[in-house]
Symmetry: C2
Amino acid sequence: MASQQTRPARGMRDFLPEDVRRRDYVIGVISDVYRRYGFEPLETPALENIETLTGKYGEEGSALIFKVLRRGDRESSGETDLALRYDLTVPLARVVAEYRAKLPRFFKRFQIQPVWRADRPARGRFREFFQCDVDAIGSRSMVVEAELCTAVSDVLRTLGFGDFTIRLNHRRLLAGLLDAAGVPADLEGSTLVAIDKLDKIGADGVARELAERGVSDAAAARLLATFKEPLTIALARDLVRAIPEAAQAVNELEQILELCSAGSAAPHVRLDASLARGLSYYTGAIMEVAVPDLAGSLGGGGRYDGLIGMFLGENVPACGFSLGLERILVVMGERNMFPPFVERPSADLLVTLFDAASIPEALRLAAELRNHAVRVEVYPEPDKLGKQMKYAAAKRIPFAAILGSDETARGEVTVKNLGSGLQVSVPRAQLPQRLRDWLAEPPVPSPESRSRS
Amino acid sequence: MASQQTRPARGMRDFLPEDVRRRDYVIGVISDVYRRYGFEPLETPALENIETLTGKYGEEGSALIFKVLRRGDRESSGETDLALRYDLTVPLARVVAEYRAKLPRFFKRFQIQPVWRADRPARGRFREFFQCDVDAIGSRSMVVEAELCTAVSDVLRTLGFGDFTIRLNHRRLLAGLLDAAGVPADLEGSTLVAIDKLDKIGADGVARELAERGVSDAAAARLLATFKEPLTIALARDLVRAIPEAAQAVNELEQILELCSAGSAAPHVRLDASLARGLSYYTGAIMEVAVPDLAGSLGGGGRYDGLIGMFLGENVPACGFSLGLERILVVMGERNMFPPFVERPSADLLVTLFDAASIPEALRLAAELRNHAVRVEVYPEPDKLGKQMKYAAAKRIPFAAILGSDETARGEVTVKNLGSGLQVSVPRAQLPQRLRDWLAEPPVPSPESRSRS
């Protein structure tokens, strides 16, 4: 069987320890910030009944759903009864319907779980990837939008991002702008898709697309003129003065900006008339987070008052934001943004094994240190000391303990700093504190290790 | 669509906030302890190529694998190309083969992820459940077994378990005992399955099963006599004196006991000749953790030197332990073992909204407190104060802040203790510290709330 394929399945990834540590760190920051806003954690199963997902993601989305074959006698029928979670919004809608009586009137939940899509894998696009969703259900107040923008800002600032922009727009303002420019109502959807590409293909590209989609040159020109100057509340109000629905959208945007002004999002939020967002279900404000060195966004969201009630058969106001874990990780990796403790080795100290007789004493030392929260690996078998030191160095473990019978008799341990090569004898009772002191300052690299790097 | 099924799929569960907090707590303790032993986190994809799983779990296991239909043009063929992770051991074997050059000589990993099995759901048996696996690859030393027993003991003691037993046996000792009792070699497997039920069906039940499986009455009687007295190293040595392989197994067990004697596992490890473990792949020591109030085990493991190398085509020594998250949670729930911070409400304080004009000030207050790590929920819309207080009480949020314009002008906030009903004015700058003090001692319940409970 040696020749069997051992790579992960297409579009899937194994996360080796270093990857998991980075992912856990980012997930930890996101969860902590969201908890600080009173959002509560929710988790739903990877598999949903297939009817729960059918018809929820459009034709294109449906083709990307992983479907699970029936089992037992019905396996040969080729029928499917289950499907893998495609996003975290439909499961949320199902949960809101199922546990309505148990959930608070305003249900604020976050959910950080993988989703699966049978997309064509590409750079940064995977078939299993994590979504980090935060949603507030039950209120139409713009406090919700402002709190979401502020929470997302807190997440990104805590992770070390300073240069992100939260682009802000409103679906009903967009509809008004299209209307005012003379785009027919039935072309609204496809016009939004074209506008959403303004960043990527420029005004000329969008104009060409609009022409292809049947928008008249005059309407396209009027519409594109709208995006030339930076959008302000005053300008927006002026553009859609005659369209009450859109004027109300401008009021909502103004409120969101005002409510954001007190918090961390203030320097990051920017009105952007060309932000359209791909998904059709948005009904109000829409948001997207961008950083200069990443094409595409780190995440986005908005208000979608029609979707959460789909299983209840009624409208339930909702607004949410989804951060893309993989994209955040890519940018943080490229910018070297992970704090040292995330990148630290798997153990603080290796307890070496001298000979078979010394093993019980070595394990006692390990237990003592672990009780003081020192992370200790024990070399599993007696071996040449040099080989054990090499093992520690390869794993970047900064210290090694050597327990000779003389030291043990004196109540001491020899500790080697694998960076400097220095070796000192330490009374056992003092070792946890000494290690904590040493670990607080990184070990000085030896001339050899410096020249090798 | 109101009538659509909103329950999770059969055998699957939604985890509402309270569930997630409990699960996260247990997973956090397990990870922390394993990290302290130098184990590193690994994660693998939920979906594996179907060939990776085929033929690995026997006929019974194979029938329980969830298989994923091919997509696109091949969907109608009924063919499958992917399957959901069935355990964490086969993916580990794949990872060891794939990244061999990158992994340390002794690869110590833990992995806490869901697995999926199309088993008939029953009380405590789910189709999606978490395994918490810890494995050490690359050494045949009994230090590995001892470290695993000690780490598992540390996990359970940290969670608050004091009364668990780690049953310890050895597959080659078992084989020796069977041999010595006169059980034919070809009946070894089915005899082990019968013995494993001794706890459940008693000696008479096992005797009946052994007879059905073709073991002679004389051999069965000799074998069952072995399990009458508690196993000791001396007794074991005596029983298999004539069988060198089994005598060596006794030496290994003696070593494990000696190496455990220094650590937290010492008072919990107990030799048990009747422990057989269901899985066929074990080759050496086997372990299982039991608590008095749970039928079945909290987890188990052992040495399996043949399995990890399956994709490499060579033997790679390995020893591991798997804890069952759901069973640990069940016992902890029944025994009320979760510490108060796990059960605390989703926010420390609710900021109430007086009127529209006060919202910006309310959000500023929320931001200040969150910057001091206070978990703050903002009521999303101005409403009757009584309604907002009721909302806070229903969510067990202990404090509510009221920001009238007078207080704001004086730089103060009114804080209501929802337990006692007491209300005090606090200078804003002092609020974070005051809240921390109050939260350290639980709020005194009011006579009303006490009589209601």
